[in-house]
């Protein structure tokens, strides 16, 4: 295992933020607005961030028992060989499955909004190939590439939001919490599940050059993600109002299309697409790397490289086979995805942590 590859905590923050924001900003505003209507930004900004911080603390506490190991490696140490290996297998499955969903989201979005005549497999193949290219180069290259892209994402994002300030209508946020707190919490579940994708840290913690900083890193990442997603949700509600937002499939795309600077800088959806393509490549690569690393560790082999292409093929096939149509995907994300993701993002780590707390009360024997 190439654990001599080390990344700094800034790089880790950037990686997590890109990974989560890039699909989040596309799907979250609409799904949240369906439940929480005009209070969507509260769901995304406060409720989901609180959840994110909770899971961040769990991961940190858990990860620091074994700063040199990933969850696939230390789960057997905590709860015994059989259970631990089962958990490892479940995580590998989770990463591959989530990755297939991401690839599907990617292709669906591009077909819907960009090149409608191009078949879906083309987009999926390209992104998986690019990601395979990254994964076979390792974690450092992934982080470096993301570090290069991250300022561009932020710039594009800020640019679009900034150009829309003229069209913002804060009246759209009123009245606050019309129907009480329940819809707000309901709306926060999906963004919460998204925020929980920092579960990647369970695989990536050993790569950090200062694992002690993991707590700060994760909380920082959660807050930054919260900021970006809240800004997106708030902007689309402020510009379009909650009722239009909830009927749109991709509000951020509509926002970009709505930008108009002096009638010559218009139709900026290409900016969103470019950011999206780059970001999803990073995201797919991150989950892909986690899956491949996990598989290699689970099978106890030293070099994960040979597994890159087979795993990529599996991801590719499932990205096309998982859903029949685009609404099935969104429906899955809005309903079943929530408990499913929470199990892996909160349930299992919490369980592991509980056992670990009891077993290693007096500090872990090194």
């Amino acid at each position: 295992m190439k654990k001599d590859e080390k990344v700094s905590s800034t790089q880790m923050i950037f990686l997590l933020v890109t990974t989560i924001t890039v699909t989040g900003f596309l799907f979250v505003p609409s799904i949240t607005a369906q439940y929480a209507s005009r209070d969507g930004w509260i769901s995304v900004g406060l409720a989901a961030t609180l959840f994110g911080i909770l899971v961040a603390l769990v991961y940190t506490r858990l990860g620091l028992y074994f700063p040199e190991k990933s969850v696939v490696e230390y789960a057997p140490e905590i709860i015994g060989k059989f259970g631990g290996r089962l958990i490892g297998l479940l995580y590998i499955f989770f990463f591959i499955h989530i990755n297939a969903i991401i690839v599907r989201e990617f292709g669906d979005f591009l077909v819907t909004a960009f090149l409608p005549e191009t078949p879906l497999p083309v987009f999926n193949t390209v992104v998986v190939l690019l990601a395979a290219f990254v994964v076979s180069n390792g974690m450092e290259v992934l982080c470096r590439m993301n570090q290069f892209l991250f300022p561009l994402f932020v710039a594009a994002f800020v640019f679009i939001v900034f150009l829309l300030t003229e069209d913002v209508n804060f009246g759209n946020f009123l009245p606050l919490m019309e129907n009480g707190i329940k819809p707000v919490i309901r709306g926060s579940l999906v963004p919460g599940a998204w925020r929980g994708e920092i579960v990647l840290i369970l695989m990536f913690l050993p790569f950090m050059n200062q694992p002690r900083e993991a707590g700060k890193t994760l909380v920082g990442a959660v807050l930054l993600i919260g900021f970006f997603l809240t800004l997106t949700t708030a902007t689309s509600i402020a510009v379009f109002g909650p009722l239009l937002t909830q009927n749109m499939v991709f509000p951020i795309l509509e926002l970009a299309r709505y930008v108009s600077l002096g009638r010559f800088l218009e139709r900026l959806e290409a900016v969103v697409i470019i950011v999206w393509v780059a970001g999803v490549t990073v995201k797919v690569a991150a989950f892909y790397l986690a899956a491949v690393l996990g598989t290699a560790q689970w099978l106890n082999i030293k070099d994960y490289r040979p597994l890159v292409y087979p795993v990529g093929l599996i991801i590719l096939v499932y990205s096309m086979a998982l859903f029949e149509n685009s609404r099935e995907l969104v429906d899955f994300l809005a309903t079943v995805f929530v408990p499913y993701a929470y199990l892996f993002e909160l349930g299992i780590p919490m369980g592991l942590l509980a056992v670990a707390l009891v077993r290693y009360r007096g500090g872990r024997k090194q």
Binding site: F93, H97, K182, P183, I185, R186, L189, T295, A296, L299, N300, I301, K302, D303, R305, P306, L307, Y309, P310, V311, L313, I314, L316, V317, Y318, M320, A321, L322, F323, F332, T335, V336, V338, P339, Y340, L343
Partner: protein, 76 residues
């Protein structure tokens, strides 16, 4: 046609990966690669030929949709 392309791709991947492992005598890696690759090939052909694939999503839906419904009932 598409099957031909796929076969070429598979042969390409195998030809690319195996020599290195053979040279370094990484038998464990080779076994893992072989099993995964076989699985991937079966899945790919099944998908291309329109055979039913084991779809984990339906299983997940089965397990988790009661929970999802419960959440819906509590929060609405």
């Amino acid at each position: 046609m598409i099957i031909l392309v796929l076969i070429i791709v598979f042969i390409g991947i195998i030809a690319l990966e195996t020599p290195v492992m053979l040279k370094n005598r990484q038998w464990r890696e080779l076994a893992a690669f072989g099993v995964l690759m076989l699985g991937a090939m079966v899945l790919t052909f099944a998908q291309v030929l329109g055979l039913p694939l084991p779809n984990p999503t339906s299983g997940i839906e089965m397990i988790f949709s009661p929970v999802a419904d419960m959440i819906k009932n509590i929060l609405s």
